[in-house]
Every structure is written in structure tokens, then in C-alpha cells.
Amino acid sequence: MMDKASLDQMAEYIQTMRNIAETLKEAGTGIQSIERNVTRILASIRLLEMNVSDIAKIA
């Protein structure tokens, strides 16, 4: 089992990725190739949250 600090660090990276993706989506509002591709990126980030960030919350 990974230590709590390392888990928290990974969860922070994932949060940063989410923030960047959402910021990009907003910046690209109206441009479908940005909006739709970021939607797919966010779906993958959500899985990282389930696989890592959720574990950090209960560790």
C-alpha cells in the first residue's frame, strides 16, 4: 500500500489536470473540436479520480 503523502500528491496532480481541462474547455467554448475532446479527457480524469483520488480520501 502506498503511503498517504504519495497518494495525496497524486490526487493533487489529478485535480490540477481537471482544473486545466475545465479551463481549456471554457477557453474553447464554441469550438467543437476543443469542447468535445476535452469532454473525453474529463471522462478519463474521472476514472483517475475513482482509482486514486477516492482512495486518498479514505486512506
Binding site: R40, A43, M50, D54, I55, I58
Partner: protein, 446 residues
């Protein structure tokens, strides 16, 4: 040679049980809140029961949450928005794929998938395939057109995610599929147990080929039927292909919730990071936590977006295992996979009969073919069970002795007597997807 972790995600697969429980409770609350806030169907159900999401604070509270079942899902389809009904929990324009159930138990249920759902579904499958030993060096053959059924889409994308090379063999016929697997030296295969046996049979008959010697398949992932958890059926498949055969269980409503690992302990791990599986006593309705006692599975799939699955009464009968697995996963085991369907396990002559028990006996006889059919009828007031089997070619002289031993074994394993009928080899129906070998005609069924 690159070395790989035995786990897709060791962070959750080796989580201590108390942490796993905490994770499940957190995710259950989140899924309940999502369903309540976004699905008119769920909100109405919970309001009628006087339940607010905030009422659920402990594991014990979960049993207060009303269950749903397939008939309710069908009913929602009668309402807007078309075609999913008011269970839909995202705007219709966010739905990216249509799926439906196979309709084995009645009118098919429609399912909406967003991008997030499809990723989630594939992730669940990635846990399954990684536990079956799929790695990025594998070339995986999928001998089905995936069509409107979600299962093999999930398997396909999960294999891709793991890094495998996937060969979708849907448009080919059985012979062409076998030849393509041979040509490409495929190392893994996903199929229903019925079709795994059927392909080996076709290879022998039509191509004079022994798939265990001429193909390079090393592992087979089974889906759709319980065969890979029935010891004699698993043995037949493993012998026919010279490969390891692994089971997994999933459904359109829930996702891929359970899988066998490479230790093959006799049971399947429940993916407790993605699902909450409860086993309910079929008489008292109490939740069963002790090992060995069968009951109905109630399943919650955490974090599904478009069509939440909260406390779904799947009608699958399962039991917790009383043994642990050496693989190191802390996910609990169910013993022997799905024992049967609550609506299939039926009383015949006053005795509870699970069709899987008959299959286990029939396939334990090397003189008999893979196919069989059970027909239950009523003659006057008495139930009658007709079991049709096929003798393998060249075994005619042993027929009497085989049938006598078969009758003995059936009585021993199921406590019932059968009328036995031998059909010409190759004459019973063959199936590619889900088979229908048990027919209860007592109430006008078919």
C-alpha cells in the same frame, strides 16, 4: 522481459477490508445523491419511501434504500425522454451510445451511455482482463459482432486500454474465425462457454483441426453464461483449447462486477471498488454476510452517470465463499460464480433444481457431447423432467451403461429422477451467444 504487477490497480485491489468498506460507503452515498438529484424515476421512488440521500450514513442504513428490478426499468421506457424514460440522469444530448439487454428474460431494457459511462464500463472490464492475465503483448480475438450489446464493447476497449492488440472477428463465420486466429497467432479469446466449445467442435469437424495444438490461444475469457464456473464445463473447454479458461460476470444494467483471477480458487472476486454486492435471503429478505448461504444478489454500480444502478435486484443467485484467495486481492469471493437465476431455480417434484447442477453432471461424462436440453412438463399432477443428451460418435455400444451411470449421478447431485433421451450427435440446438437449454413448460413457458 518486462515484469508486470499482478494487479490492474493495487491501490484498491489490496485495500484492507475496513478501508474498502469506507470507500464503498462513500461511493454509495455519492451514487445515491446523483440518482436522487438527476433521475425523476429514482427521486419519485425515494420520495415515496420517505427517503432522502442524507438519511444514509452507515452501511446498515443502505438496506432502507428501495430496490429496483428489471420490470421497473422496462416501465420507465414508457415515459419521456424517448427511448430511455425518466430514469435518464443526463440531458439526452449527452448520450453517446445506445445499448440494450439481450432480452433473455423478456422485453429488452434500453441503456444510455455517455462518454464517461463507456470509459467507466471499459475500466471495469480492464480489472477483469488484467486479472485473467491479459498484457500488452497479447493479441485478442473477439468472435462476435458487438452490435447493440455492451459486453464485448467493454471487453474490446479494456483490452485496448491494457495495451493488447484487438482483432474484432464479428463479420466472419466460425470457420473463418478459427482460421484468422490461426493466421494471426492470437493469444487470447473472449466468448460465451457455449461458443468456446462450439468453435472447437467446428474446428475438428469442418477443418480437421485440433485447436489445442494448431492455435496459440493461451487464455479464454468467458461471459454471458455460467459455464466457466461449472467445473466439468471449464475442464472441457480447457482440454479442448489447451488454454486457461477464466470466468467473469457482468450485465448491461450493472457492468462487469466480478472476475476470476489467475489463481482460479473456485470462486470469483467481486470488484468492490466499483460495486456494492449484497446477498439477500430469498425467504426472509435479510442481508446475508456469512459464507455458503445462497441468496439473491442486489447490486449497486458506483458512479454510473446516464443510467444509475442503485440496489438493482439482478435475480442472480450467489453465495459468499468461505475460503480466501492466494492472489493477494482483498476483494471478497463468491463461491462458484452465479449458481443460477432466482427465476430459473425452480421447484420440481418439490425439490429445488438449479440447471447448472445438471450441466455439471452431463459434462462430467466424456462419452456425452457438449449439448443437452432439459424440458420440464406436468403429466397430470406430477412433474416430469426430460433430459436430452447426445452420445459422441462411436459410443453407441456403451449407451446403456452410460445412461445408467448418468441417472445415478443426476439423482445423487440433484435428488431427482429424469427421463433420458439420446438424440443423434449434432442434432440438439447449437448457440453462439446465450444458450437456452432449460425449458419449464409447466406454466405455458417455452
Amino acid at each position: 522481459m518486462e515484469s508486470w504487477s499482478p494487479y490492474w490497480n493495487p491501490l484498491v485491489e489490496t485495500l484492507p477490508p475496513e478501508k474498502l468498506n469506507a470507500l464503498q460507503l462513500m461511493k454509495f452515498k455519492r451514487s445515491l445523491e446523483w440518482a436522487y438529484q438527476n433521475s425523476p424515476f429514482y427521486r419519485a421512488l425515494y420520495k415515496k419511501a420517505g427517503l432522502e440521500p442524507g438519511d444514509i450514513q452507515t452501511f446498515d442504513d443502505i438496506k432502507r434504500v428501495p430496490k429496483i428490478e428489471k420490470s421497473m426499468l422496462r416501465d420507465t421506457q414508457e415515459r419521456e425522454p424517448f427511448p430511455y424514460g425518466d430514469i435518464l440522469s443526463v440531458p439526452l444530448e449527452e448520450v453517446s451510445a445506445f445499448r440494450q439487454t439481450s432480452g433473455t428474460t423478456g422485453v429488452p431494457v434500453y441503456h444510455a451511455e455517455t462518454w464517461a459511462d463507456l470509459d467507466w464500463y471499459s475500466e471495469g472490464w480492464a480489472y477483469v482482463l488484467y486479472a485473467h492475465g491479459y498484457r500488452k503483448t497479447d493479441r485478442v480475438f473477439v468472435p462476435f459482432g458487438y452490435n447493440i450489446f455492451v459486453a464485448f464493447w467493454g471487453g474490446h476497449y479494456a483490452a485496448e486500454k491494457i495495451g493488447c492488440e484487438v482483432v474484432p472477428g464479428g463479420v466472419l463465420d466460425t470457420k473463418a474465425r478459427i482460421l484468422k486466429m490461426k493466421e494471426l497467432q492470437c493469444t487470447a479469446l473472449m466468448a460465451t462457454p457455449t461458443y468456446v466449445l462450439g468453435m472447437a467442435d467446428t474446428a475438428g469437424k469442418a477443418l480437421n483441426m485440433d485447436v489445442s495444438k494448431e492455435l496459440n490461444i493461451q487464455k479464454i475469457t468467458c461471459a454471458g453464461e455460467p459455464g466457466a464456473s461449472i467445473p466439468t464445463t471449464k475442464r472441457r473447454m480447457e482440454e479442448a483449447w489447451g488454454a486457461k479458461v477464466y470466468d467473469h460476470i457482468g450485465s448491461t444494467e450493472s457492468g462487469a462486477w466480478s472476475f476470476e483471477c489467475m489463481e482460479q480458487p473456485g470462486g470469483l472476486h467481486v470488484n468492490e471498488a466499483f460495486f456494492l454486492v449484497e446477498i439477500e435471503d430469498m425467504v426472509t429478505g435479510e442481508i446475508i454476510n456469512e459464507a455458503g448461504k445462497p441468496g439473491k444478489m442486489i447490486i449497486t454500480a458506483f458512479d454510473r452517470c446516464a443510467k444509475p444502478c442503485v440496489r438493482f435486484d439482478a435475480k442472480d443467485v450467489i453465495k459468499w465463499a468461505d475460503y480466501r484467495c492466494d492472489c493477494g486481492r482483498t476483494f471478497r469471493l463468491i463461491d462458484g460464480g452465479v449458481i443460477g437465476r432466482a427465476d430459473d431455480i425452480t421447484k420440481v417434484k418439490g425439490v429445488l433444481l438449479a440447471p447448472t447442477a445438471i450441466e455439471d453432471v452431463v459434462r462430467g461424462f466424456p462419452e456425452l457431447g457438449d449439448e443437452y436440453e432439459v424440458v420440464v412438463t406436468k403429466k397430470g399432477e406430477i412433474d416430469d423432467i426430460l433430459l436430452k443428451v447426445e452420445l459422441k460418435p462411436g459410443k453407441d455400444r456403451e449407451m446403456e451403461a452410460v445412461l445408467s451411470r448418468l441417472q445415478d449421478q443426476l439423482r445423487l447431485k440433484t435428488n431427482l429422477g429424469y427421463r433420458l433421451e439420446v438424440q443423434p450427435f449434432g442434432s440438439l440446438p447449437r448457440f453462439e451467444l446465450k444458450s437456452k437449454r432449460f425449458k419449464d413448460l409447466r406454466k405455458g413457458g417455452h
